[in-house]
């Protein structure tokens, strides 16, 4: 029951932000009637393959997910439909959220490693320049 309420709050929360006028990114959930919450299609506005493919990859790496795929509805519309089906009764929002946090962690880690690498390279170059003097 609590989960239901939470979900509804999330959806309604988004709806109000949409009603408020400008929205940069918004998220909708579409569910076929008669299925329970383990098969859901998410509509992500103002997104394209950049987020779609990387998010799909992270969600597919989750062993609880039976199916995950995304499409761009039409190249003129900037939105993607991301569908998740889970094994068992796990609500589909869970792997979605988990995929997002995992993607966040990946990006953070890549950023850290990248900056460390750049710094190393600069240090190495500096020390090489010094040694030639």
């Amino acid at each position: 029951m609590e989960e239901d309420q939470e979900l509804e709050r999330k959806i309604s929360g988004l709806k109000t932000s949409m009603a408020e006028g400008e929205r940069k990114t918004a998220l909708e959930m579409v569910q076929a009637a008669g299925t329970d919450r383990h098969c859901v299609t998410f509509v992500l506005h103002e997104e394209d393959h950049t987020l779609g493919n990387s998010l799909r990859y992270m969600i597919m790496k989750n062993p609880e997910v039976e199916f995950c795929g995304y499409t761009t509805t039409h190249p003129s519309e900037s939105k993607i439909n991301l569908r998740i089906q889970t094994r068992g009764a796990l609500p589909a929002v869970d792997p979605f959220q988990r995929g997002l946090t995992e993607l966040l962690n990946v990006c953070q880690h890549v950023l850290d490693k990248f900056e460390a690498s750049i710094k190393d390279y600069k240090d190495q170059k500096a020390s090489r320049n010094e040694s030639t003097f």
């Binding site: 393959h49 950049t50 989750n62 490693k113 690498s117 390279y121």
Partner: protein
């Protein structure tokens, strides 16, 4: 053993066959291969992932990312191309244009000129704001008039001799500081990246006099920002992995080295015989010349390593910060959706 090798090849290599490419898609998802644990493991990823900078100077950066999947590496590439903000000319106020180049064409060309300014020091302009303020706009003035050269030889037909200022280059653009920009940015730091881009050509009596406003934008919302970015092409490639299935000796070794880009195959003299050795597969451009050689095509396997990316950021203003920026942008994208 052979089966295990074949599975590994399927997982790790994109194989370039004579008539097609195999194992293109990533297949290491949980449940696809028995005996492999493919579920996402952040620790395992962190252990295997590394970034190696191969080359960096003020205009370009080449680095390798090892241990990351195509989907995410491609997301970085897309973000660098399209969603890293740049400063570009958006509004052109034309006071006088008697050149042969129409106003709108001229404005379009000006919008494509890369501007050497760090976009992180500027704000986005508010929608509908006509007059720019100093925190979101850079102004440039372009004022060129073409005249006849009085000292030209009588029978010369070379425009360079006959006319003065007949070619309008980006070096004719002068920066007009707004507000306190003159204090913030020292002389010479705000300019077009290249000063030899030809904007228009004039003849005597023609004049161009205009004022340009540069604002911060990203490709999605500013049609010219992409080309302008000069920021960058990020090319992400899998590095080549060439294996010799059978040893190649003698004349065949020489032939083999000619089938690949120079430096890939090294022919060594061992005990009087010439033997071919793979020296540096990374240099290869995969022209697949080897498949035109009937004898040698069975001896070599061409493949690419799947989770290793060579990334080249070319023609960039500040490649190292760009790389960081693009990864941060992808971070923020996933954050906004995390609710």
């Amino acid at each position: 053993m052979a089966a295990a090798q074949a599975v590994d090849e399927m997982r790790n290599r994109v194989v370039l066959g004579e008539f097609g490419v195999r194992n293109v898609h990533t297949t290491d998802f949980p449940g696809n291969y028995s005996g492999y644990d493919d579920a996402w493991d952040q620790d395992r990823f962190e252990k295997n992932f590394r970034v190696d900078v191969v080359h960096m100077d003020e205009n370009s950066l080449e680095f390798d990312m090892v241990g990351i999947d195509a989907a995410i590496a491609n997301a970085f590439r897309r973000i660098l191309l399209a969603e890293v903000p740049t400063m570009a000319v958006e509004k052109v106020l034309v006071y006088n244009n008697t050149s042969i180049v129409q106003d709108e064409i001229l404005a379009h060309r000006l919008g494509l000129i890369p501007i050497h300014a760090d976009p992180r020091l500027f704000e986005y302009r508010n929608q509908g704001d006509e007059e720019g303020t100093e925190i979101d706009t850079l102004q440039f003035r372009l004022q060129v008039r073409c005249t006849r050269n009085p000292h030209a030889a009588k029978d010369s037909s070379d425009p360079n001799e006959l006319y003065v200022n007949h070619k309008v280059y980006t070096r004719h653009m002068t920066w007009v500081p707004l507000g306190n920009q003159a204090d913030l940015f020292p002389e010479g730091t705000i300019r077009p990246v290249h000063d030899d881009i030809l904007i228009a050509q004039l003849r005597p009596g023609q004049e161009i006099d205009l004022l340009m406003h540069c604002v911060k934008g990203i490709d999605n919302h500013q049609a010219c920002a992409f080309a302008v970015s000069g920021l960058g092409e990020l090319i992400a490639l899998f590095p080549p992995d060439i294996t010799l299935l059978k040893p190649v000796e003698g004349e065949a070794a020489e032939e083999l080295s000619r089938c690949f880009s120079p430096g890939v195959i090294e022919v060594q003299e061992i005990q009087g015989k010439k033997v071919a050795r793979i020296a540096n597969p990374r240099l290869d451009t995969f022209s697949r010349e080897i498949f035109r050689n009937e004898k040698l095509k069975k001896v070599v396997q061409l493949a690419r390593v799947r989770d290793h990316y060579i990334c080249v950021v070319a023609r960039a203003c500040n490649p190292s910060t760009l790389g960081g920026q693009e990864i941060e942008t992808s971070l923020s994208k996933s954050k906004t959706l995390s609710l």
